[in-house]
């Protein structure tokens, strides 16, 4: 059991390093309004975050992560490019399901984070190289991904716009994504809409229903997706290798899937930038399905640092580009290009004592 003070000290070291990398330290609130978080993350966050209520402010949540308050603070007045860093507790509860775990996960732990609001691809490399340098002493396994590649791949499928949009919407939910894909690969079944004599009820309007029915009717003419595309998607998602090898496999795949070329070029450029920043691309894994199975809203570069041999541990650090989140937070107005990540100093402290 490592005292919290020691974990705090490890966190301070990362915070100092982030400051030296040009970030301004910020200290967001611990109690956050629940509505913004719920709107962004849905019920998943209610299962994970501690909620409380305030007689004046309504439902509040104990900070489940720093991203939202930091983005909001930046939106309220920051100019790009901007670099912020922070150190503090986040709070996550665990619903054990049918049986209580013998060793419950920490429900309160430190995060040291760095967020960079800038669009240029160099920003992705800057954040990753910084984390890579700071975490170098512990020999962690660095895994990267690119949701932009996955989204470009989906956009390039020969599908109707409606089908493409549905897949893109669920790109972070592998099961639903898979169900949609399976349906699109079959000949469209004739849809029998239900009959109803019931009066109209509720906030959803008849016009909304009619729009969807028209979409379903149009979908009946859609040709099934050629199984070759499913095979290509499977091939894409299976790519997991050191960056240079993964890039080779991606290039092979792009011979039958030319639309992947721009995204592959972006990844290749990133590998070059990483090399320039002193990170050997051969030591970094690229896993095409990395972001596909992680947090919603990561829509570009993603990364994790993992401690091999520590079964059951979450990643020591995670991060990525999340322009999709700032777009939702900005209510369709201003989408702010953002990339960042967090380190869990508590886990690093445990690695140090081992």
């Amino acid at each position: 059991m490592i005292p919290k003070r020691d974990k705090q000290a490890v966190g301070q070291r990362f915070l100092n390093a982030f400051r030296e990398a040009g970030a301004v330290e910020v200290a967001p609130d611990i109690l956050l309004p629940a509505d913004t978080l719920l709107d962004l993350y849905g019920e998943d966050i209610r299962a994970r975050a501690y909620t409380s209520s305030d007689p004046l402010r309504g439902e509040m949540m104990l900070r489940p992560d720093f991203t939202v308050p930091v983005v909001q603070m930046h939106m309220a007045g920051g100019a790009e490019p901007a670099r912020y860093c922070y150190l503090g507790e986040v709070f996550r509860k665990q619903d054990p399901g049918d049986e209580r775990p013998a060793n419950p996960r920490d429900n309160e732990y430190l995060q040291a984070g760095f967020e960079l609001f800038a669009h240029d691809p160099q920003a992705d490399a800057e954040v990753f190289a910084l984390f890579h340098r700071l975490l170098a002493p512990w020999g962690l396994r660095a895994v990267t991904g690119d949701m932009g590649l996955v989204m470009d791949a989906v956009r390039a499928l020969p599908l109707s716009e409606a089908r493409r949009d549905a897949l893109l919407h669920h790109v972070w939910r592998p099961k639903r994504f898979g169900r949609l894909l399976a349906r699109f690969s079959r000949p469209a079944a004739r849809r029998n809409v239900a009959q109803s004599a019931a009066p109209w009820a509720g906030l959803r309007t008849r016009a909304e229903m009619e729009r969807r029915m028209a979409r379903l009717a149009a979908d009946q003419d859609a040709a099934p997706l050629d199984p070759a595309w499913i095979a290509r998607l499977d091939r894409l998602f299976a790519i997991s290798a050191a960056m240079p090898k993964a890039l080779g496999e991606l290039t092979d795949l792009s011979r039958e899937w030319p639309d992947l070329a721009p995204a592959i070029r972006r990844i290749d450029d990133r590998a070059g930038m990483l090399a320039d920043l002193g990170v050997a691309p051969e030591t970094v894994l690229f896993d095409a399905s990395h972001g596909h199975r992680t947090m919603e809203y990561y829509d570009g570069f993603t990364f994790s640092f993992l401690a091999d041999g520590r079964t059951g541990w979450p990643p020591i650090a995670t991060g990525g580009r999340y322009d999709a989140l700032t777009a939702v937070l900005g209510r369709g107005g201003r989408a702010i290009p953002a990339v960042g990540g967090i380190i869990r100093p508590g886990l690093v402290a445990e690695l140090e004592t081992a």
Binding site: G42, V193, W200
Partner: protein
């Protein structure tokens, strides 16, 4: 002394009494109808405690009662990690009810959960907030929808008259317990064509740590601990 908790009123109490009577144990209310003390005849070392069906899960988990009759829905909703604290001894064959997801009957394009997921996505895009499901079974519904990777919805709490929330425009769909479906139909709601979120019935549960002590009594009932 083994403490047995049974719902304190209504059909659930009567049917519980009948179930035990059929197995040679007579349960009854002592004194007046207002008193929540009970009598047990036909077995030694047993006391009857009458309490609200909704409180039985908590009392069982805490070990303040050793055996208790309540619905599986209440145990699974109210007790996180329920299997760690209580054991299912015997389904009792009454109090059947399914926890289901229902939508307005006028939604002719909504048959199954895939439709529902698509409608939720459209709804959020049009209305700017997540489609609302009224329920009191927050954990069960959330876990079920998460398992099916349905997004774009939110739960709103409804502790009663849940079927009315759609007409009142405080929710777009409901998740509730139903046995015959009559109330749903009366409120112009239809159940999605999916397996229920949970099939519930009145069940005899034991506090896990009391299971051994209850052995002889359960054997007398013709059950195995």
């Amino acid at each position: 002394m083994i403490r047995l908790g049974v719902p304190s009123k209504g059909r659930l109490m009567e049917q519980s009494f009948e179930w035990f009577a059929a197995r040679g144990v007579t349960l009854s209310r002592s004194g007046s109808d207002r008193e929540y003390a009970g009598r047990v005849d036909g077995v030694e070392g047993m006391s009857l405690i009458l309490l609200s069906a909704g409180e039985i899960p908590r009392e069982l988990a805490a070990g303040r009662i050793d055996l208790g009759v309540t619905g599986t829905d209440l145990v699974r909703e109210k007790l996180t990690g329920w299997k760690s604290d209580v054991a299912e001894v015997a389904p009792m064959g009454f109090g059947h009810a399914d926890l289901i997801l229902a939508v307005p009957d006028c939604w002719r394009d909504c048959v199954d959960l895939d439709d529902f997921a698509a409608i939720a996505r459209d709804f959020r895009a049009v209305h700017g907030f997540r489609l609302r499901i009224a329920t009191k079974y927050h954990r069960l519904v959330r876990a079920w929808l998460a398992a099916h990777e349905v997004a774009d919805y939110q739960l709103v709490d409804s502790q009663g008259a849940t079927e009315g929330t759609v007409a009142n425009q405080t929710a777009e769909a409901i998740a509730d317990i139903t046995s015959s479906g009559e109330t749903l139909r009366a409120n112009n709601l239809k159940v999605l064509a999916e397996d229920p979120i949970l099939r519930s019935q009145a069940t005899l549960f034991a506090h896990r740590a009391s299971l051994a002590d209850c052995g002889p009594f359960l054997a007398q009932l013709g059950l195995e601990a």
